[in-house]
């Protein structure tokens, strides 16, 4: 009994210290999202975080949106998930997936200078983030920064991606990697949907190449979703993605090494290899159909 008392006493003393330290910390950084700072109280949260190798890296949906802007030229409002749908996503699963979807939509709208659409997506993001306990990443200060930089496209993309990174960091530190994985999946699926649909409207070799280049990203995504399949909630999604992955196995990637050139004074290396993607028209159509069905199922 006395032994327990000592342990509880020491825990109490240290907890008090930790909480008071956190409060001090909070005072010094009032500009930062308050909710996200609470994870510091859970002092062991990051101890078990692993690097998790291959299961981590999915390309940002914004990257695909940049290519689509270069390749397709004009904004297509038919492609995006209407922001007003945000209210109908009531489960953690659907909120997380659609937070990823809306991130891609916001990136797409921002790149094309669609200010009204962008503001609507901001509200949609806040609604979903609220339901996922990462409201701090998309709070009032985020919206204010976004509005202040409305005419600076590059700054807007940085602000949005910073917010997603803040949310990602919070979820990972709080052992909610299952939610973080679904957000990534939603973003990847939506950006693939954009690429496939734009190519279906007007065939474009650049876009087809970018679709084929997603082969490794899909394998990575499957690893993530399998690894964080809490209560088998990802089973149906995994089934659909595995079917798409079967199609991707037919994509051929050719690679020829050429010596990279490093400019040490400017901290930059130029990769000079040659590479290309080979996939049949039928394969592109089959992937387009599967992606479209999956995406429409996600947005409801």
């Amino acid at each position: 009994m006395r032994l327990q008392s000592v342990v509880f006493l020491s825990l109490g003393v240290v907890s008090s210290f930790l909480i008071s330290s956190c409060n001090d910390d909070r005072k010094s950084t009032d500009n930062e999202p308050q909710e996200l700072k609470t994870h510091v109280v859970d002092s062991t949260s990051a101890i078990n975080a692993e690097f998790e190798g291959k299961i981590f890296s999915i390309p940002s949906p914004v990257q695909t949106a940049i290519l689509l802007k270069q390749a397709s030229g004009s904004f297509n409002a038919e492609l995006i998930n209407p922001a007003e749908n945000a209210d109908k996503y009531s489960t953690t699963y659907s909120r997380a997936l659609n937070l990823g979807v809306y991130g891609a939509d916001l990136g797409y709208a921002t790149l094309f200078g669609q200010q009204k659409e962008s503001m609507n997506y901001l509200k949609a993001l806040q609604t979903l983030a609220d339901g996922l306990s990462i409201a701090g990443a998309f709070d009032k200060s985020f919206a204010e920064r976004f509005e202040r930089n409305m005419n600076q496209q590059d700054s807007l993309l940085i602000i949005v991606q910073d917010a997603y990174r803040t949310g990602d960091n919070f979820l990972k530190n709080n052992k909610q990697k299952d939610i973080s994985s679904l957000i990534l999946a939603g973003g990847w699926i939506e950006s693939m949907y954009f690429a496939c649909q734009l190519n279906a409207l007007q065939s474009n070799p650049q876009i087809i190449e970018r679709i084929g280049e997603q082969k490794q990203s899909l394998e990575t995504l499957l690893s993530i979703l399998s690894g964080y399949n809490t209560d088998n909630m990802n089973d149906a999604l995994l089934n659909d993605l595995n079917e798409i992955n079967d199609l991707f196995k037919e994509v051929q990637f050719s690679y020829t090494f050429r010596e990279p050139v490093t400019d040490a004074s400017n901290h930059i290396t130029t990769l000079n290899h040659d590479s290309s993607v080979i996939m049949s028209d039928e394969l592109v159509v089959a992937i387009t159909e599967k992606i479209s069905a999956l995406r429409n199922n996600i947005i409801g």
Partner: protein
């Protein structure tokens, strides 16, 4: 172990845990600054993820794709000093394309990518400088 010993043992474990968590958060901020530290005036957009590991003598590895027509920045840090982390980039045939070990463990490096390439990135602590701790990596890109 007597009661006082147990008290200090518990205290030290919790202090260590707390310090570690604080450590990781502060390292993320160091990496964020490096991601924005572009002398050419253009800005890198984060890929939206934080790559975090607690490593000692092992090598952390992950695969990603560098898309053609893009310049990427890899930032790695494990603390206040710039040179704790060694990172190495391999091509699909496991050939070394770059290692910051050849550049005094530079905390960030840019990669101009003309044609898409799947790469493997290995990260480890430089054991001469730090033997264990939280390591953070961020990836940014620009058009």
């Amino acid at each position: 172990m007597n009661k006082l010993g147990l008290f200090f043992f518990t205290l030290s474990i919790l202090f260590f845990s707390y310090s570690y968590s604080q450590d990781c958060d502060s390292i993320v901020k160091i990496c964020e600054n490096q991601l924005r530290n572009d002398t050419n005036g253009s800005l890198f957009v984060s890929d939206g993820q934080v790559y975090q590991a607690f490593i000692n003598d092992e090598i952390a590895e992950f695969k990603t794709t560098f898309f053609g027509g893009t310049t990427y920045r890899i930032v790695a840090s494990a603390g206040s000093a710039d040179n704790y982390v060694i990172f190495t980039v391999y091509d699909p045939e496991n050939r070394v394309l770059f290692t910051n070990k050849d550049h005094k463990n530079a905390p960030y490096w840019d990669f101009k990518v003309n044609s898409t390439i799947p790469v493997k990135i290995e990260t480890q602590l430089d054991m001469d400088k730090k033997v264990s701790g939280c390591a953070i990596m961020l990836i940014g890109f620009k058009k």
